[in-house]
Each structure stands twice: as C-alpha cells, then as structure tokens.
C-alpha cells in the first residue's frame, strides 16, 4: 500500500503522458550539456541539465514515434512473471521525447529497431489479487 501515493503523484505522466519542454534554452555550458530550446523531456524534469536554469513548461508528448532500442526480459520481477518473455524498449517520439516502455502486441521475433510505434493505455501491474490496479503507457506497433 505504501506505493499508492507515489503511483498517484505520477498519474499526469502515466495517464496523460505529460512531460515538459524547454521553451528558452539559456544554458551557458555548451561543452557540458546538449540541451536546446524546444527539447521535450519525459518524464518531466525540474531542470534541463545540472548547469542551467532554463524555463520549462508542461506539455503532452507525441503519441507516435519509433523504436530506438529494446531488450527482452526473460527473468522478470515477480509481478510481471506471467508476461515473460517480454520486450522493454526505448522509443523516440515524433517530438523528440524519449520514453522507456513495454512493447506489446508484437511477436518478439518481429521487433525491429526503427519500427513505427504508438502509445496505448494499458494495465501495467496489479497489487496482488485484492490491491489496486495500476495503469499507464505501453507502446504497440503503429500499423
């Protein structure tokens, strides 16, 4: 039950895919970081990087993008035991936001780096047979 408050606090990003965007990059440390105006962060960050104080505003990330890389989870955490083996990937969405998500609705041997994906709303896990159900985003092939 202790995780309920933290899960609840993250609902804007889990349910509505809310990140944030640098609207005016004022970073003075070009050699140290690669942030720039317009960059979208997901999950939302407090600052673009440790060296600057740019203005960030909330935004909803794009729901379509492509698969950058993935791995296959064969020995999963207990609550995902019934799903193994399953794929976990990093995707770059059309607005540049990157997110880590489970990749579903595709056979593992059909996964390809660069494949178009889109976000779908899914159940992520449940707290046993009587606890709460936790929802959020996964990605599926965009076909």
């Amino acid at each position: 039950m202790a995780f309920i408050p933290s899960y609840w606090r993250e609902t804007p990003q889990r349910y509505r895919y809310e990140g944030n965007k640098c609207i005016k990059c004022e970073c003075k440390h070009d050699s140290k970081c690669d942030c720039e105006t317009g960059q979208v962060f997901f999950p939302p960050r407090r600052t673009c990087c440790p060296w600057c104080d740019c203005t960030l505003e909330p935004c909803t990330i794009a729901t379509t993008g492509k698969l950058l890389t993935y791995t296959i989870i064969v020995v999963p955490p207990t609550q995902f035991g019934d799903e193994a083996p399953y794929a976990l990937g990093i995707c770059e969405m059309d607005d540049g936001a990157r997110l880590t998500a489970q990749i579903v609705d595709v056979p593992l041997d059909k996964l390809e780096i660069g494949m178009p994906v889109r976000i779908e709303f899914r159940k992520i896990q449940q707290d046993g047979h009587a606890g709460i159900l936790m929802y959020g985003y996964k990605v599926v092939p965009n076909s």
Binding site: T11, Y15, R16, D82, E83, V104, D105, E120, F121, R122, K123, I124, H129, I132, L133, Y135, K138, P141, S143
Partner: protein, 348 residues
C-alpha cells in the same frame, strides 16, 4: 441540435476462432457457426480491460470532436465487467482524458444495455443545457464459462460518444426505452461467470424488447424501415440481430455495416454502440440510422440518428472500426486464451 460530436471505438488485436474453442469441448463447430453465425471473437490481452479500452475509444472520440477534454461535463461508462467491484471506472477514464476535476462521473450497469444507457443519460444532460459536452461509453471484457455457449461469443471492445449541441456529426432525432422485468441472464454477487436461461433469452427477452423498442420508436418518429440508410441492433451472436433486422423489415444492405458480431463476438455493453461507430465511419450527410440496444433483465434503448454535413470531415481523424476488426489480428490457442482470461486455476 443535440447529438454526437465525436465518436470512437477500440478492439483488441487478439482473436480466437470458434473451431479452436469447439475442438477443446468436443463440440460441433459447424453447427455452432450455422446456429449462432459466429466465426471468431476478440480477446483482451491480460493488460487490457474496460478501463484501458474505454480510454482508447474515448481518446478517438476526443480527436474527432476536436474539443478540449476539460470541457466534458460528464463521463459515464456502461459495462458489466468494470475492473473494480468498488472504485469507479469513470474516475480513471476522466483523469486519463484530462476531464477532471469539474466533471460528473458514474459507472452504469444493465447487462448489455449499460453502454446505450450511458449515451442516453449523457445526451439528456446536454439536451437539458446542464453541460456543454458529456461522454457516454459502452465497453466490456465479459466472461463465458468454459464449455458454455457464451464462451463462443463473449468478447471485448468499446465505443465512446461525446454528446454536444455544437459541431454535431450525428443529430439525435428521437429516443425511446422499452423495459420489463425478464430474468433471462444474470450474474449473482461473487460469481465469476454469468448464467442464462437458454432459449428463454430469445423470443421473450431479446426479440420482444428489440421489436417493442424499434416498433414504438419508428411509430413515434413516423418513420418506416425504408426511411433508414442503416440499422444496428444488439449483437449477442450473429443470428439474433440478422433475424431482428429481417423481421422488422430491414434489408441486408441496411444492417450489414453495423453487423460486427460474426467476427467480433458479443462485446456486451459495447455491441450496438460499436456497430453505430462502424456505421458513422461510412455514413453520408442526411443518412438516418436506427439503433436499438438490448440488455438482459431486460430492456432496450432506441435512438434515431441523422448524419450531418460535418460527419465526413471527422471520419478519418481517428482509427475506424472495421479496419480494427479486419486487420492485424493475432490468433490465440485455447491455452493462451485460457491464460489471458484467467480460466486456469492456480495456487495463490
């Protein structure tokens, strides 16, 4: 003018063929196909339920409506498979859409009629001028007991409709509800699978209420079957809606666009709303649509819709219903299906 300003449907990709189920139980697949006019059905993945399917369908509806979800004044979700026994489906849906906190939320239940019920009430709020937009959804991931006739039909899907008074894509011309107390199908508290009264679910239940509602609604509207471009009825299997359409005087051309059940199965609260969604995907301005739901227990909600000039401009703004039914299907074995639907008894 009050009616639908945005609509959307969602169908999971998984399917199981009728033969795959019949083989396990030693049943005659061909007899079931002939008798029920069912060929395959959709199956939700373990990470899909009424909440996830409702969110997806509702997002499609918001895209077509082109509105700010914060302006939705009510979120009503009709289902007999709400994921929680106590805790609303609608609050999570409203949160995911961005409709909170100024929103009235309720979960509806009335067997397979809960979806049309939510649409009925959502539209009434808009008609009364109490809110600008209201969302009504029908969605289900219902269960059929292993080996029971329901196992060949109980499937998964959702359809969502945003009601409003501006930018309407389908105007609601008339509504009517027909209800009696008829115990043809039920699920008692704490029971996992529903039960039904066999053939009693036919004439005194489905057909009496469907005919009663459709006939009275057409009388009220001073319309005849030939005045409609399309009709859609509740679809517990393929045969019942086909027979209902024929007996009421509708042609195959009028009924086949919204007739999804032979390849989708019975999506319960989602059934006639999803048929309506498939019709709205192709309807032309001026087309009139008769929709009659049916929920065991028993009752039917009837609507006469008329497509507006705006409809064609929104049809392709979100995934359409038929392509979701026909494309990218993943066929399951009975073992996968039993695992996905939690039909396997396990150590706790």
């Amino acid at each position: 003018m009050v009616g639908i300003v945005g609509y959307g449907a969602y169908i999971p990709r998984n399917r199981i063929k009728l033969e795959t189920i019949a083989e396990v139980w030693g049943a005659d697949a061909e007899a079931y196909k002939r008798g029920l006019m069912l060929y395959e059905k959709s199956v939700p993945s373990p990470d899909q339920d009424v909440i996830t399917m409702t969110v997806e369908a509702a997002r499609h509806a918001v895209k077509r409506a082109g509105i700010d979800p914060a302006e939705i004044g009510a979120v009503y979700v009709g289902s007999e498979s709400h994921p929680y026994a106590v805790k609303p489906t609608g609050t999570l849906v409203a949160e995911a859409l961005g409709a909170t906190p100024s929103v009235h939320v309720a979960d509806f239940e009335f067997a397979c009629k809960a979806g049309s019920e939510s649409m009925f009430v959502a539209m009434s709020h808009v008609k009364a001028g109490e809110m600008k937009y209201a969302l009504g959804v029908g969605a289900d991931t219902s269960q059929g007991a292993p080996g029971d006739a329901l196992e060949y039909s109980a499937s998964a899907g959702s359809a969502a409709f945003i009601m409003g008074a501006e930018q309407v894509v389908a105007e609601c011309l008339h509504t009517y509800s027909f209800c009696t107390d008829t115990p043809d199908f039920w699920r008692r508290e704490y029971q996992f699978y529903p039960q039904h009264a066999g053939r009693f679910t036919g004439e005194p239940a489905y057909f009496k209420h469907t005919y009663g509602c459709a006939t009275r609604l057409m009388e009220m509207a001073s319309m005849k079957p030939e005045d409609f471009a399309y009709c859609v009825f509740h679809q517990p299997n393929g045969k019942f809606p086909a027979n209902a359409a024929k007996k009421l005087g509708f042609t195959k051309a009028q009924s086949e666009t919204g007739w999804l059940s032979p390849w989708l199965g019975n999506t319960y609260s989602g059934a006639s709303p999803m048929g309506l969604s498939a019709i709205l995907d192709v309807a032309k301005p001026g087309d009139k649509i008769l929709m009659v739901s049916y929920g065991s227990g028993s009752g039917s909600d009837g609507f006469v819709w008329q497509a507006t000039e705006r409809l064609p401009s929104v049809q392709k703004l979100a995934p359409q219903t038929r392509p979701q039914l026909d494309d990218n299907k993943v066929y399951l074995s009975y073992g996968q299906y039993a695992k996905y639907r939690e039909k396997i008894k396990r150590a706790k």
